[in-house]
């Protein structure tokens, strides 16, 4: 290396008639560029890894955010659900609002002619997904342990006769905002929206 710095030829150098000092400077520049490239390789590799994590995170978050409300609904149905708090037209899992807003607490009686002993209900959070918990009770007995309601509806099998109570257990903030859809004979009968203070 000392020889190279004095400007003498080094083994393997191309023989040319140009200035040896310029050739050495060119060589040093190429070495620096190669070293920079080698030094940037781990950064680029990790940067691409972070980019992959970013894309995966965006896909995952986007799927969870856009899932329930992909179907278009008539705004009149939404207004009816907000005022009457019952709807036979809104799809299961429809998100009415982005934040927890005030709705009255109401009890609903559903009359049906089904002969089946059990039916499926769908429970979800129709407002902000903020960690609200509810439990399902039938005739005063807990039939489904307290669970967190989310935008994705949870299907629960319940008896078709008797008093079904959905009781709020924990408020994640802004009130417990849950919606229930009742399915009898494979038809959706009604969706009830309720907020417990």
């Amino acid at each position: 290396m000392a020889d190279r710095r004095r400007g003498t030829a080094y083994p393997g150098a191309a023989v040319c008639s140009c200035d040896p000092i310029a050739a050495i400077e060119r060589f040093e520049e190429e070495l620096r560029a190669e070293k920079r490239h080698d030094r940037n390789k781990p950064l680029k590799r990790f940067g691409l890894f972070c980019l992959g994590v970013l894309i995966a995170g965006l896909i995952f978050t986007g799927v969870s955010l856009t899932g329930p409300n992909t179907t278009t609904v008539d705004p009149a149905w939404v207004n009816q659900a907000m005022t009457e708090q019952v709807s036979a037209k809104l799809p299961v899992g429809y998100i009415l609002m982005s934040a927890d807003e005030h709705l009255e607490s109401q009890d609903h009686t559903i009359v049906h002619q089904s002969n089946l002993d059990s039916a499926v209900i769908w429970v979800w959070d129709y407002a902000a997904e903020d960690g609200d918990y509810v439990e399902i009770m039938h005739n005063g007995t807990v039939i489904f342990e307290a669970f967190m309601i989310k935008h994705a509806p949870r299907a629960i099998e319940v008896p078709t006769v008797g008093e079904l109570q959905i009781r709020g257990v924990r408020d994640g903030g802004g009130g417990i905002t849950y919606a229930v859809a009742f399915e009898l004979n494979e038809r959706l009968t009604s969706t009830v929206c309720r907020k417990e203070p």
């Binding site: 040093e28 781990p42 940067g47 972070c50 980019l51 970013l54 965006l58 960690g131 967190m148």
Partner: protein, 128 residues
């Protein structure tokens, strides 16, 4: 922060109403552009220790976020058996992931980058 969330879940017995998605997305975006965009990459030349720090920080955060996610999922239903199961799954996940991380960095250590504009031969202090 993340450890605090794990403590909150275990103490209250309820899952959190949020996850660390936005934190993960924000950090991975910033780190990705800082490493892929050449003018921004210079910060790693000015602070050679920054690259290994960022790598270790990000991977550690990723592991802990996965742990919170697993525990959060387990605590979504109030069932003691389910809580215990997912707590064990979370602990196993942390141990396995950290072991894998240590093994990887033992085989391919993350080194601080060389000084900015230094001698291309790496012999700055050598006498001529």
């Amino acid at each position: 922060m993340i450890l605090g969330d794990i403590n909150t879940i275990l103490r209250t017995g309820f899952a959190l109403g949020f996850t660390w998605d936005s934190f993960l997305i924000g950090h991975s975006f910033m780190i990705a552009i800082s490493m892929l965009v050449p003018p921004l990459r210079k910060i790693y030349d000015y602070f050679p220790w920054l690259f290994p720090y960022v790598v270790m920080f990000f991977i550690n955060s990723l592991i802990m976020m996965m742990a919170v996610y697993i525990l959060n999922y387990g605590y979504e239903v109030r069932d003691t058996a389910r809580h215990v199961f997912f707590l064990i799954v979370m602990l196993v996940q942390i141990i396995v992931c950290r072991f894998a991380m240590c093994l990887y960095f033992w085989r391919k250590p993350v080194k601080p980058l060389g000084n900015r504009g230094g001698d291309p031969y790496g012999h700055e202090d050598e006498d001529e």
